[in-house]
């Protein structure tokens, strides 16, 4: 799998164009044929032009913007908001809701229509539900007017921005799921010899899940205080690892007719391998949440960890004992038809969306254009205490960002971002994934066999699809499939 490295490669827009036009009978892609305005708006000062336009639209009216943001992200949002107010004179108010609640709160707004926010930052996987509920403004018409042609070109992951071919919000956070390794152990000559003698291949950052599992087994020596991995076996996180393992075997979760494929042989094998790997994890794997995980891996007595940019922020801080002694890599892949297939996974993200109850959707859109512009998004990502990880190519070159994450990490992060497969962006994502979580956790706990768990899950998935409306789901599924990263799309069945 070639490394598509430095922003040179198929732009997101090209990929989406290809995907969209590939849909039989689907309406023309909104991405084609941008209006004349956009050509005049250059990317490099888009933040200035967007602000100016917003100021003009606001005129002498008393306009203000209310942004609903997840608690803890104020550091990413407020600096940008302050600069916006300076440039446009439009004040910004921040509504904080607990981060586990924000998707529900936005959805609740579809019911209550209270007008409490103009913009919100829901988690990306909620966008299908939000779009279907009618609370999100379809941003195509504004994008046509204002979005520069190369606006999304530098953004490394944009799949979640679109639903059924339309734009609903720009991505702000590079939440690709990647691996962390104890470099001291990896580089240790004795370990390397012993491992390669036993397994026949070199001890290095693993390419496949098989290799990772073997390495975790190799390093798992609890009597000596060494553990194979700090991966997650809590009910919430466990499904993500399975998702990665499953895709690495070369399958989509749904067939073209929406029949679940999760319980095919590959799915069952992926689950069984996951369960087998549980033996090589540290004792807290079944109970620890994210932050306990940071601390646990930061002790330096475990071989592998899985996480996001936020994990690195901790591991690279003074609170971590393993600072500077880390190696990084994509989530492992698998061998499909004799060739290595990597399927990194983007499993969270926050998007700026516009509320359909907002009195000034156009200005709200311009804010999101402003906030996700190259200059402003860099300022947002710089905040070390917030959520946003690098998402645009230029972020990786920013000295402050480099200092927070280390250049080595950023190389791996960027690589993982470019090839990330999307989450299950369908209406009812939460329900689908909850079924997955409950069943996988049951299999891991031993109360169900892997096959039974996945069969039950597949049956639930069919019920959910029926309830959500098969035709509607089919439209989105085909759109989503067509937008899997180019190199991966053709290799998945």
């Amino acid at each position: 799998m070639k490394r598509l490295f430095n922003g040179i490669g198929p732009s997101r827009r090209d990929v989406l164009k290809a995907g969209a036009t590939g849909l039989a009978g689907f309406a023309m892609s909104p991405l084609l044929g941008r209006g004349a305005h956009a050509e005049q708006w250059a990317l490099k000062n888009i933040h200035e032009t967007a602000a100016a336009k917003a100021k003009e639209l606001a005129g002498s009216r008393n306009v203000s913007l209310k942004i609903m943001q997840p608690s803890g992200s104020l550091g990413n949002v407020k600096p940008v908001g302050d600069l916006w107010t300076k440039a446009t004179g439009i004040p910004v108010h921040y509504l904080e809701v607990p981060l586990g609640e924000i998707n529900q709160k936005v959805l609740l707004e579809a019911v209550s229509k209270s007008g409490s926010f103009d913009l919100a930052l829901p988690a990306t996987f909620g966008i299908p539900d939000l779009a279907e509920s009618g609370i999100l403004v379809n941003l195509d018409k504004y994008a046509q007017k204002y979005e520069p042609t190369d606006y999304q070109k530098d953004v490394l992951y944009t799949i979640g921005d679109y639903y059924k071919g339309s734009l609903y919000g720009y991505q702000t956070d590079g939440d690709t799921y990647l691996m962390f390794y104890n470099k001291d152990w990896l580089d240790n000559a004795d370990e390397q010899k012993g491992f390669s003698d036993k397994h026949g291949y070199a001890l290095k950052v693993p390419d496949t899940w098989e290799q990772l599992d073997a390495m975790m087994e190799w390093f798992h020596r609890p009597d000596k205080g060494m553990y194979g991995g700090a991966l997650f076996r809590t009910q919430y996180f466990i499904a993500w690892e399975w998702w990665g393992r499953f895709h690495a075997k070369g399958f989509y979760p749904l067939a073209d007719d929406l029949t679940p494929q999760i319980n095919n042989d590959a799915g069952i094998a992926a689950l069984e391998e996951l369960i087998a790997a549980s033996k090589f994890l540290y004792p807290g794997a079944r109970t620890n949440g994210l932050f306990e995980n940071f601390e646990a891996f930061g002790k330096g007595d475990k071989f592998a960890d899985i996480g996001w940019g936020g994990t690195q922020k901790f591991l690279n801080s003074d609170k971590s004992k393993i600072k500077g002694r880390l190696a990084f890599g994509d989530m492992p892949g698998g061998m499909v038809n004799g060739e290595l297939l990597r399927t990194p996974y983007f499993n969270w993200g926050w998007n700026y969306v516009v509320s359909s109850v907002s009195p000034d959707p156009e200005i709200a859109y311009l804010f999101s254009l402003f906030a996700c512009s190259p200059v402003m998004s860099t300022i947002a990502v710089r905040d070390p205490g917030g959520y946003f990880d690098p998402i645009r190519g230029i972020h990786y070159k920013d000295p402050q960002i480099q200092k927070t994450y280390t250049e080595e990490f950023l190389v791996a992060h960027k690589h993982s971002m470019i090839n990330s497969i999307p989450d299950f962006y369908l209406k009812g994502q939460g329900e689908y994934f909850d079924e997955l979580r409950v069943n996988i956790a049951a299999a891991d706990a031993g109360t169900k066999t892997a096959k039974a768990a996945l069969d039950d899950c597949a049956a639930s998935w069919e019920r959910i699809t029926r309830r959500m409306g098969k035709r509607s789901q089919s439209v989105q599924w085909h759109f989503l499939k067509a937008n899997y990263p180019a190199g991966i799309r053709d290799r998945l069945k």
Binding site: A110, E132, S133, T287, K427
Partner: protein
């Protein structure tokens, strides 16, 4: 003198032989008279209207929603929801998660009330005598019921953290490290929730029982003591039966309130792991505000309302008779 509410809705206490003026519903002049609203009715109107808007009308809406498949996430207003006859009730009948939530809630009520009552009785017995720091003791013991329930739940979250003081104390006790993750374990996660509830409301039961004990007619007890009865016998044959009205009220009211338990469940586990700690309120919250299947949950709400009301009415009759 304890008065328990077994009377009709508007009885008044009349001192014997006092002048009793029966109030006549008089219509005042002006607006009310012109509208034909008697004065006494006008007085209850503000309260009644508030209840109508916030409780009665929504309950009627529940009746409608319960026979629809309203999911606001389908971009439908509630009056446009699809009518589906009684299919919600059919689905609820087979919904294991709903049945489990009901059974679990009944279990929680039973355990919590049982423990609260026992502890309350035991504590109250310790307080029948007098000693110099008794008032201080009462003040401290009733502290839990005056804490905001959400803050109490947060405190218990910290206490039962796998590296919290409870585990620390157990570690010291058994001599080896004990870092059990209470709130992540499907079997045990209910314990911190119940302990939080018991901790917070035993003081109330205690106060009620104490009030009851303080007001016991002393002559019966004195007679029994003079006759040589043992403390245990006195308690069982005299004190307990006389306390029954108070205990009855306490149990009824606390049972209703415990049935509604929500704050500790939400703060401590949200019903996780995997629905293992879902009480009926948590189940309905999850169904309505996480999955947005509001029509379905309205049907569940209707079932719960009918259940609770019928049990209350059934229980309040023997209670009225008893007193």
């Amino acid at each position: 003198m304890i008065e328990t509410e077994a009377r009709d809705g508007a009885g008044g206490v009349h001192a014997a032989g006092a002048l009793h003026v029966e109030a006549e519903p008089v219509g005042r002049s002006g607006l009310l008279a012109r509208l034909g609203i008697p004065f006494n009715v006008a007085l209850v109107l503000p309260a009644q209207l508030t209840i109508m808007v916030v409780v009665v009308v929504p309950t009627l809406i529940v009746l409608w929603l319960a026979v629809t498949d309203w999911q606001p996430t389908q971009d439908l207003a509630w009056w446009q929801a699809q009518f589906i006859w009684f299919w919600n009730f059919n689905d609820l009948w087979y919904d294991q998660r709903f049945i489990n939530a009901l059974i679990r809630t009944v279990f929680v009520v039973g355990v919590c009330i049982g423990v609260e009552l026992s502890l309350a009785l035991a504590l109250a017995l310790l307080f029948v005598e007098e000693w110099w720091w008794k008032r201080l003791a009462v003040s401290v013991i009733i502290l839990p019921m005056m804490v905001v329930p959400v803050d109490a739940a947060n405190a218990f979250f910290m206490l039962f953290n796998d590296r919290g003081p409870i585990n620390h104390m157990i570690t010291v006790l058994i001599g080896r490290p004990f870092t059990f993750s209470w709130l992540s374990d499907p079997t045990w996660a209910m314990l911190p929730i119940m302990l939080c509830e018991i901790w917070q409301w035993t003081p109330l039961m205690f106060l009620m029982v104490l009030t009851g004990m303080m007001a016991l007619p002393q002559n019966q007890v004195r007679a029994a003591v003079a006759l040589g009865a043992s403390p245990v016998r006195i308690f069982r044959r005299i004190v307990l039966p006389l306390l029954m009205p108070v205990i009855g009220i306490a149990v009824l009211i606390r049972s209703i309130e415990t049935f509604k338990i929500f704050d500790p469940v939400y703060i401590l586990t949200r019903g996780q792991p995997g629905g293992a700690t879902e009480t009926i309120s948590m189940y309905m919250y999850n169904g309505a505000f996480v999955y947005f299947r509001m029509g379905y949950i309205a049907a569940a709400a209707l079932i719960v309302l009918v259940l609770v009301l019928s049990i209350c009415i059934a229980l309040s009759k023997p209670l009225k008779r008893h007193t």
